[in-house]
């Protein structure tokens, strides 16, 4: 495998007095797909939100595609241009149509002409299989469709890394599959992905590595086969016994 595209070393973060992330070291190679799981409050969302500087951190260093992000959050914009993010609650812009949601950042951040941006956006909307909804407003769509638009919106910026923060947790059970299918397609195209999720089926099918976190630290990281078949740490065993029935 090639060089790491995301390199997190010695990351520590506190919310006031509370130590949320403790000595996190993680390297993600290009094209690698990592699933991060763990109980709620274990710091997994906080960790991936640090990667595109939505959260600040007090110690350590994150390097994304050679761009260094230290505690003073210099190069914040350069990093964000390379990293796409999908949120649990979609966070589409409700006052803009689906198409405008997808062209906003290319036009205003990358200064791409409107027509080209729209062509690119339509290409990605086709890829997530909703080109015919391009002129609707997000509020007129189902949760699953909105989340697929959110994925398309992130992709229009041609990110090198995609972060998913519990992308299916706010969805009806029926909608989960369509979003996961989209993510599987994306994985097959070779996108580097960091996914926080409780979908263990997705982890088994797609991930190269599963990272288990608890109490702000990485407890265990392994290939999915090893991770699910023979978890090493007691906390991991307990977690798996509770979610896999």
């Amino acid at each position: 495998m090639s060089d790491p595209i995301v390199k997190i070393s010695g990351l520590n973060k506190w919310y006031g007095e509370f130590h949320v992330l403790r000595d996190i070291d993680l390297e993600v190679r290009k094209g690698e797909r990592i699933v991060i799981c763990g109980p709620s409050g274990s710091g997994k969302s906080t960790l991936i939100r640090c990667i595109n500087a939505l959260e600040e951190f007090q110690e350590g260093e994150i390097v994304v595609d050679g761009i260094e992000l230290g505690p003073n959050l210099k190069h914040i914009d350069a990093v964000r241009r390379e990293v796409g993010m999908v949120f649990q609650s979609f966070n589409l812009f409700p006052h803009l149509t689906v198409l405008d949601n997808c062209t906003l950042a290319p036009i205003w951040v990358r200064n791409i002409p409107k027509r080209d941006a729209e062509a690119t956006a339509m290409k990605f909307l086709e890829r997530v299989k909703i080109p015919h909804q391009a002129n609707k407003f997000p509020g007129q769509m189902s949760g699953g469709q909105q989340q697929r638009v959110a994925i398309a919106r992130a992709l229009t910026m041609n990110p090198k890394v995609m972060l998913f923060d519990e992308p299916t947790s706010a969805l009806d059970p029926e909608m989960v599959k369509e979003v996961l299918d989209t993510m599987v397609d994306l994985a097959e195209e070779g996108m580097t992905m960091l996914v926080v999720t409780h979908e263990m089926g997705f982890a088994r099918e797609v991930a190269n590595r599963v990272v288990f976190m608890d109490a702000g630290q990485i407890i265990e990281a392994n290939t999915p086969n090893e991770f699910f078949a023979s978890p090493q740490h007691a906390r991991t065993k307990l977690f798996l016994s509770q979610i896999l029935r």
Binding site: F87, N91, P94, A105, V109, Q140
Partner: protein, 506 residues
């Protein structure tokens, strides 16, 4: 029932369509179901009808039936001459209409006011109709070009220089005040206990001032040369045009993509040149009409439109400032908002008119109308800030995060994502403030500015039209005018709200 009671049923004759019973549809049905369907409703209907009877009928009688429609002085509006109890005295309004619209604006110059009104309408109406094209150009003309043109139309006067002279003048003033401050410190150092410190600081400031003086000296020299030439305005104009066009060209991307910026800035300057030439600004312009001669609807509209247009940006800036993470900006915004909200508008106007001149340096005067305008804009701005803040608070944090994750800067996130949504939420509140501002403009009459209401009250004292119904007629007329403007704003805001909230209808 017999048909259905047996377990099998086949219909042989189809039931043909019949009109609904008269009692449930049409006017009678509406009356029965909406007005008289329960004892409470019957009572309310009767009360409502009585209320209408006792308000509408007398109003119509006063305004139309018993009104006097023609005449040349008070005698026409007296009961003993008309032969009936006289209602509204419309000839009085007709005779006083010029005063109500223009105040004491000289009669020969009133075409300038009319032209301003026409220009405003021509620019505003297309701006308000969403279907019409070129909104950017239209907004630019209305918000930037129109105020300048309106100023030279209404107030008159010309210009002596242009961009270069103004820049030089401003820099000179800035530099002089720096040197002045340094000299003050030097003087203080002769008597003060911390003399060396003040002496050093004073000398440093004077030194900086002198350095700036040498930096801007070429500009000032150029300004003086231009002023000495016979055609100071046009020479200055040409220099400014060249400089600004070049800056636009290079900022627009230079040889590669700058041509558009160059063309548009050049077109802007051509338009400015045409305006200067048309209005003769280069040789004195139109005769000056001082603002203390302005009055009537003119003052009402000038004050309210300026207030409306300037208070919204002030409000937005203050609301954003109040949510800022930088303590200094936040504290300033909070203090500013709370100060202006805590003071009555009348106090603000009094302060601006009678006390501000005492604080300003002797030879530095600001026109009375401008002082009132500034006071009203800041006052309303503070209110608008709180309205806008309400809208900002309604936007989920995820919106800003999503925009940031896409790489949008704070400014772009705010102007493209947060503010458009926040302002849509608070359109009713914003327009509410606009309407109350429009009516509050009548308060300027206490600081010797005669707005519509002030002019009206002034006209009451004319013995030629002194009749029992003069005051009632005047107030009814003013009420109708205010109502037309306020109701128009209210309806238009409903339309905008409906249109901009398309995304919230499923």
């Amino acid at each position: 029932m017999t048909d259905i009671a047996s377990s099998s049923f086949v219909r042989h004759d189809l039931v043909s369509e019949r009109p609904a019973p008269v009692k449930t549809t049409g006017f009678i049905g509406w009356v029965r179901t909406r007005l008289f369907n329960s004892p409470t409703n019957i009572l309310l209907t009767i009360l409502g009808a009585l209320l209408l009877w006792f308000t509408i009928i007398p109003s119509v009688r006063f305004l139309m039936v018993d009104a006097v429609w023609s005449g040349s002085d008070r005698t026409a509006c007296l009961s003993e001459n008309a032969g009936f109890a006289v209602g509204a005295c419309w000839p009085y309004i007709q005779a006083k209409l010029p005063q109500l619209i223009y105040g004491f604006y000289p009669e020969a110059e009133r075409w300038r006011v009319n032209l301003t009104f026409v220009l405003a309408a021509v620019l505003l109406v297309p701006l308000l109709v969403p279907r019409l094209p070129a909104k950017g150009l239209n907004a630019g003309l209305f918000f930037f070009a129109f105020p300048v043109v309106a100023f030279f139309l209404l107030h008159g006067g010309g210009i002596k220089g242009f961009g270069l002279s103004w820049t030089a003048g401003l820099l000179e003033l800035f530099d002089e005040s720096i040197i002045g401050a340094g000299n003050v410190l030097l003087n203080l150092s002769k008597t003060s206990a911390v003399a060396p410190l003040l002496w050093a600081a004073g000398n440093l400031i004077v030194l900086i001032g002198t350095a700036i003086h040498w930096l801007v000296f070429p500009l000032i020299w150029l300004r003086d040369q231009i002023q000495d030439s016979g055609q100071s305005v046009w020479v200055d104009f040409a220099v400014t045009t060249v400089v600004v066009c070049l800056i636009a060209f290079f900022l627009g991307g230079g040889l590669r993509t700058g041509w558009r910026a160059l063309a548009s800035s050049f077109a802007t300057f051509v338009a400015i040149a045409i305006v200067i030439k048309l209005m003769g600004l280069d040789h004195g312009g139109l005769p000056i009409v001082l603002t203390n001669l302005w009055g009537g609807l003119l003052v009402t509209l000038v004050v309210s439109v300026t207030g409306i247009v300037t208070s919204l940006p002030i409000g937005i800036a203050l609301a954003l400032g109040r949510r800022s993470t930088i303590p200094l900006i936040r504290i300033f915004s909070i203090a500013f908002i709370e100060f202006w909200r805590g003071v009555p508008l009348i106090t603000v106007l009094f302060f601006a008119t009678y006390m501000l001149p005492l604080f300003l340096p002797g030879n530095f005067t600001v026109d009375g109308l401008v002082r009132a305008l500034i006071g009203i804009a800041l006052f309303t701005g503070a209110y608008q800030a709180e309205n806008v803040r309400g809208g900002l608070a309604a936007i989920p944090r995820g919106q800003g995060e999503a925009a940031a994750a896409l790489g949008l800067s704070w400014w772009k996130t705010t102007s493209l994502i947060v503010l458009p949504q926040a302002l849509r939420h608070v359109i009713p509140n914003l327009v509410n403030s606009f309407i109350s501002l429009f009516k509050d403009t009548s308060l300027v009459s206490i600081v010797a500015l005669f707005d519509l209401l002030g002019s009206l009250r002034a006209s009451f004292s004319d013995p030629k039209w002194s009749t029992p119904s003069t005051a009632f007629t005047g107030f009814a007329f003013a009420g109708i005018i205010y109502f037309i403007f306020c109701f128009g704003m209210s309806r238009y805001s409903l339309f905008v709200e409906h249109r901009l909230n398309a995304h919230r209808r499923n």
